[in-house]
Subunit: 156 residues, 2 copies
DNA sequence: CCGCGAACCTAGTCGTTCTAGTTACAAGTG
DNA sequence: CACTTGTAACTAGAACGACTAGGTTCGCGG
């Protein structure tokens, strides 16, 4: 707005506008998914985390979900109750630590999430595949710089 | 994972990984800001919307916030109560429609938000400015395609 | 074998949003 | 001008989700 900001190149503003538009679109998509599954934000994030870990054969405990989602362990317990009652996951015995618990997604939940987020992932992969090697490098660098910028804000 | 997805170029996966990293970083940044201001997500979004509109001399009504944030008007009322009590905004008379209300941010609120999100915006602008014309076009196209993909998922 | 810490759960509270219903005003019609 | 319909915001009350505090069970080191 001020004269000092006029030094920025005109196409930079275009890029940021497009970035905002993408973020809005993705958020709206995520919201539609949550609404159609009648879930909260954390519930869906937990399922995604769970499915990804399961795909790699890793065991997931409530504590890991607590760390990953930034929730207190008590809140995780209630969330697991909720998702268990809705049939999205089950609690089982932990293979090595009898204090702990192994959380696993039900097959139905797996299908449900893959049907929506998997579709999204495929499309995104399609978009990214249209980049040639140089384009990919440019985009990658751009995203990396943005992430660095975000990390540095309000941290110093 | 399956053989069918092996057709995607290897650098595409890299790009998507970077994209996820950026989204996580931005979300974390936003969360830090919200926590430091002790506000909810919508509260902060409302303030940003308000400040941007105010910068353009536009009048903001509760109804506009309701539309923009996807909240019910009743929820907006409560949110305005909250933000008024915390000293971030004031309610005033609407210039033309006496049914309506003009919401405006307090100077203190303006400073507070600019100090954090303005900093973020400057940094993002800096990153985007490092792109040359061709790079900007590539990134812009990429983001536009992603937004289109998100829009089309679960809509058909 | 005993105490300490870790992992999870239970109970109670608070904050945020929603639905339903109300009041005040605007706009169009005879 | 009187009347009807629609719009803007608010009030009341319930639902939902996350947090704090306080158990319970179990692994581990002395």
């Amino acid at each position: 707005m001020t004269a000092a900001e006029q030094v920025t190149s005109p196409h930079a503003a275009e890029v940021l506008r497009e970035l905002r538009a993408y973020r809005a679109a993705e958020e709206a998509m995520r919201r539609r998914t949550r609404d159609s599954m009648k879930m909260g934000e954390n519930d869906l994030a937990a399922l995604r985390f769970l499915l990804r870990a399961q795909g790699q054969g890793r065991v997931v405990t409530p504590g890991m979900l607590s760390d990953h989602l930034g929730m207190k362990s008590a809140s995780v317990t209630v969330m697991l109750d909720r998702l268990t009652k809705s049939g999205h996951l089950t609690r089982g015995a932990h293979p090595t630590d009898r204090r702990s618990i192994a959380v696993s997604a039900t097959p139905g939940s797996d299908d449900e999430v893959r049907a929506t987020l998997g579709e999204m992932h495929r499309r995104m992969m399609g978009v990214a595949s249209h980049l040639d090697q140089r384009g990919a490098e440019i985009v990658r660098r751009f995203l990396l710089d943005l992430a660095t910028a975000a990390d540095e804000v309000a941290t110093a």
